[in-house]
C-alpha cells in the first residue's frame, strides 16, 4: 500500500472516530441509544462524503459505498416484497397455519388453491439461475409479458391516444370568444388575455400535429410535409429545453438535500 493511501485512511478513521464521539455526546440525553445514534449519523455522513469523493476521482471509498449500496438495496427490496406481498397476499390464501404463524388474518372466503399458480411460476422463474434448465423460466416470463401487454393495451389506447387526441381539439379563437369587436377593444399581451390564449391554442394544435409529422418516417420530409416537420422539430426543441431546465432544477434540489443533511444533521451548522 502506498504511503499516501495509508495516511488518508488513517485520517479518515481518526475523523470518523472523532465525529462518532462528538455526535454521541451531542445525542446524550436526547436519545436512549445515543452511542448507536452517533455512529449512524457519522456513518451516513461518511457514506455521503465517500460518494461525493468520486467528483475528485474514482477511489476505494467510493467503491466501498457503491458496493454496499448494491447489496443492501437488493436485500431491502427482497424483504419488502416478502413481507408485504408474499406474507400478506399469498400466505393467507394458501395456508391457515402459516397465516397464524405470520400473524396475518385469514381470508374470509377460505383458501384458494388457484394461488399455487404464481408460486409454481415464481419457482420456475428462479430456475433461470440454472444453466441446464434455465429455459423453463420463459413460462413465467411469458406470464409477466402477457400481463403487461394486456394491461397496457387498453390503458395506453384510452389515455395516451384517444384522450390526448381529443384534448388537442381546442377552440382556436380561445374559450371566451365574444366577437371580433370585443377582441380588438381588449387587445393586450397580458398572460391571461385573449390573444395569448388564442396563440396558446394554435401552438398546441399545430405543435402536436407538426410534432407527429416529424415522427412520421414513412414519407420523405420535403415540401409542405417538410415544413410541417421543421415546425415539429422546433416545438420538440423547446420541449427538450424545458425538460433540460427542469432536470437542472431537480438535480440541484438533490444536492441541496444532501448538503442540508451534512450541515444540519451532521455538523449542526444550520
Amino acid at each position: 500500500m502506498r504511503k499516501v493511501t495509508i495516511i488518508v485512511m488513517a485520517a479518515v478513521i481518526v475523523l470518523f472516530l472523532a465525529s462518532w464521539i462528538l455526535k454521541a455526546g451531542a445525542f446524550q440525553g436526547e436519545h436512549d441509544h445515543y452511542i448507536i445514534r452517533g455512529f449512524l449519523v457519522t456513518f451516513a455522513a461518511f457514506l455521503t462524503l465517500a460518494v461525493m469523493s468520486f467528483l475528485y476521482q474514482d477511489n476505494p471509498y467510493y467503491k466501498f459505498a457503491e458496493h454496499l449500496f448494491v447489496g443492501v438495496s437488493a436485500a431491502f427490496w427482497m424483504c419488502m416484497g416478502f413481507w408485504t406481498t408474499i406474507v400478506q397476499n399469498l400466505v393467507p390464501r394458501l395456508s391457515t397455519s402459516l397465516a397464524d404463524f405470520f400473524e396475518v388474518p385469514q381470508r374470509a372466503e377460505g383458501l384458494n388453491f388457484f394461488f399455487y399458480t404464481p408460486v409454481i411460476l415464481g419457482i420456475l422463474l428462479l430456475l433461470r439461475l440454472s444453466r441446464k434448465i434455465g429455459w423453463i423460466s420463459r413460462w413465467p416470463l411469458a406470464f409477466i409479458v402477457g400481463t403487461t401487454a394486456g394491461l397496457n393495451f387498453i390503458r395506453y389506447l384510452r389515455s395516451d391516444f384517444i384522450k390526448q387526441i381529443s384534448s388537442t381539439f381546442v377552440p382556436l379563437l380561445g374559450r371566451d370568444w365574444e366577437g371580433i369587436g370585443a377582441f380588438f377593444s381588449n387587445l393586450d399581451l397580458s398572460a391571461t388575455g385573449q390573444l395569448v390564449m388564442m396563440v396558446s391554442n394554435w401552438v398546441i394544435f399545430l405543435g402536436v400535429f407538426c410534432g407527429l409529422i416529424y415522427f412520421y418516417f414513412s414519407r420523405e420530409h420535403k415540401g409542405v410535409f417538410g415544413a410541417g416537420s421543421r415546425v415539429g422539430i422546433w416545438i420538440l426543441m423547446i420541449t427538450f429545453g424545458a425538460s433540460f431546465g427542469y432536470t437542472v432544477m431537480g438535480r440541484i434540489s438533490l444536492l441541496v438535500g444532501r448538503i442540508t443533511f451534512l450541515f444540519r444533521d451532521w455538523l449542526e451548522l444550520i
Binding site: 449519523v41 424483504c79 416484497g81 413460462w139 394486456g150 399545430l206 423547446i238 420541449t239
Partner: protein, 225 residues
C-alpha cells in the same frame, strides 16, 4: 415446449386481461391474474438477489479485480436480509410494519440506503453543471431554441426571474419571465410532450398486440428449441 407453451401463456393472459375490461364477469379473473403478476414480481426480486449473490461469490472465489469489494456487497446483502426477514429490533413483533420506526431495517434504510442513493443522484448536479459549461452550444437554430427555452425555465422557476422582469406592465405580463416559463410549459412543451406521448402510446399498443398475437417473440431469446 420451449416456445409453444410460453406463446400460449402470453396469448391467454393478455387476452383475458383485455377482455376483462369489457366483460364484468371476467373482471375477477383479470384481478387474479394481476395478483399472480404481483406475486411473481416478488420472485423476480428474489431472482435479482440470487443473481447478485452468484456474481459476487464467483468474483470472490476467482479473486477477480476488486474482489475485496464483493465482500462488502455480500455483507451488506446478508446483513439487510437477516435484519429484514427476522424483523430485528422491530417494536411490533412478526405481524408489524417491517419499516416500523426503531427497527434495524428502517434504521439501515435511513442511515445507509438513504444517504447512498440520494448522494449518487446528487452527483448529477455537478455533471449537469460541467455539461452546461462544456457542451451546450448554440450551434444552430434548433440548439438556440433549446437553450432559450432552458434559460427561460431556469430563470422563471426562481424568485430571481420574478425580480428581473417585475417592472413589465400587467398589459404586457406575458413578457414577464415567470409567465413566459408557465406559457412554455403549458403550450409548446405540452404540444411536444403530447406528440411524444401519442407516438409512444401507439408503439405500446401495437407492441402489446404483436406480443399477444405471437408475432413478437424476441422475449423468448435466441434458442430455437
Amino acid at each position: 415446449m420451449r416456445r409453444a407453451i410460453p406463446l400460449t401463456i402470453l396469448a391467454v393472459v393478455g387476452t383475458v386481461l383485455i377482455v376483462s375490461v369489457f366483460l364484468p364477469p371476467l373482471e375477477n379473473l383479470g384481478e387474479d391474474f394481476t395478483l399472480f403478476f404481483d406475486i411473481i414480481a416478488v420472485f423476480a426480486f428474489f431472482l435479482g438477489g440470487g443473481n447478485l449473490v452468484r456474481i459476487h461469490f464467483n468474483k470472490l472465489w476467482r479473486k477477480r479485480k476488486d474482489w475485496g469489494f464483493s465482500i462488502v456487497t455480500l455483507f451488506g446483502f446478508f446483513f439487510m436480509l437477516v435484519i429484514g426477514l427476522l424483523k430485528i429490533g422491530n417494536p411490533g413483533g412478526i405481524g408489524a410494519d417491517p419499516t416500523a420506526e426503531g427497527s434495524w431495517f428502517q434504521e439501515t434504510f435511513n442511515y445507509v440506503i438513504n444517504p447512498l442513493q440520494s448522494t449518487m443522484y446528487a452527483l448529477l448536479a455537478f455533471f449537469v453543471a460541467s455539461a452546461s459549461y462544456r457542451a451546450f452550444r448554440a450551434k444552430n437554430r434548433e440548439a438556440t431554441l433549446l437553450l432559450l427555452a432552458a434559460f427561460i425555465i431556469l430563470l422563471g422557476r426562481t424568485p430571481f426571474g420574478v425580480m428581473l422582469t417585475a417592472w413589465v406592465p400587467e398589459s404586457w405580463s406575458i413578457a414577464q419571465i415567470p409567465n413566459l416559463a408557465v406559457w412554455i410549459m403549458n403550450s409548446p412543451n405540452l404540444a411536444g410532450q403530447r406528440a411524444i406521448i401519442i407516438g409512444i402510446g401507439l408503439g405500446v399498443v401495437s407492441m402489446s398486440l404483436r406480443l399477444i398475437l405471437g408475432i413478437e417473440r424476441s422475449y423468448l431469446g435466441e434458442d430455437r428449441g
